[in-house]
């Protein structure tokens, strides 16, 4: 599985509201479909947690459910006051974790 794609501005002015875009490749199996060959239900396999922290404080979080389509695209705004690290963590219901870290320099 590829790394998550993240678009974060490198620099910003203090007090700016910046747009963060993220995209992760994930099948997002709903748990409602059957395997066409065996007839067995494909177990649910979804990303069920996304959290973004800036300098350690949560700035955005989401708990996606089964209705989100494959390769979820999540975009959100963050108000930045000082230079810091934006850390994003995705978790799926099978315990797998992905993360990305970007620094925004405020000048």
């Amino acid at each position: 599985m590829a790394k998550p794609r993240v678009k974060v501005p490198k620099t910003a002015k203090a007090g700016d509201i910046v747009l963060i875009k993220t995209l992760i490749t994930h099948k997002m199996d709903t748990g409602l479909l059957k395997d066409k060959k065996t007839g067995e239900i494909i177990p649910q396999h979804i990303i069920n947690s996304f959290q973004a922290t800036y300098n350690g404080a949560t700035v955005f979080s989401a708990t996606p459910h089964a209705a989100i389509s494959a390769n979820p695209y999540i975009a959100f705004n963050v108000k930045v006051d000082k230079t810091g690290d934006l850390e994003m963590v995705w978790k799926d219901n099978k315990g797998k974790t992905w993360s990305a870290k970007k620094t925004i320099t405020v000048n």
Binding site: R5, K7, L23, T25, S69
Partner: protein, 277 residues
Amino acid sequence: MNFTKVLCGTTIAMALGYAGISVAASGADGVTTPIKPAAKDHPLEEVWSGYKYAATDTQAMQDDEFSNPGMAWHDTGQELWSKVEGDAGKSCASCHGDDASSMKGVGARYPILDEKRGKLVNIENRINMCRTENMKAKPWKYDSSQSLGMSIFVKAQSQGMPVNVKVDGAAKPFFDKGKEFYYERRGQLDMACATCHEGYFGQRVRMNTLSQGQSNGFPTYRLKWQKPGSLHRRFSGCNKQVRAKPFKKGSDEYLALELYLAWRGAGLPVETPSVRN
């Protein structure tokens, strides 16, 4: 001409890294203005990319390099490019260079005829030939994430360049075979490729707008598949829809059709990875 502009745009974008890889689709020939086919025996008066028939939000998704989900596979391909595999201890980068710029133009002129084998070779085949012969590694399965990733990565190097395949000389019999396939009715519905894609493009089949069935955007990210897919996957899907038994991906029949389709879309810009519904 419009087209020169596109080429320049792409070159500049390449120089800046991958910053502007989605330049191709907007403002290119066959996308906003139709291409008048150069070949005299061309069946279409105007050639349009499938981009024209896509919904506006699908087009926007393709145009934005970030929101284009096919780019995730492009990244996979980029990673694999320098990954050493096989007994020869080589990666793609060992022979072709680190930045893959040597692949520029490849996506526009494939499939080509391999005269030694007497067979057509498309990008997916070519990658596997390199893997088995030069890298002594296992070939990738058709439509596996590695195969898709690498073929998207390789073809995307030619983004914005006009499709231009060689169909004369030794390739002529394959071209004729592909043409025959295109016009041959098949399946319980007794339909040929031409029935929809030549006779009714721009009109609807249930919810979908029929395109001219051009191949310039493949491997394409299809929203229905929720992942990218090869041209041959699309062929077998079309064959199934007319209730015909599909051929195998990578079969001679589909390769010949791929060559013929590329000729039908000659001049269209390479759009890989495109986004379609």
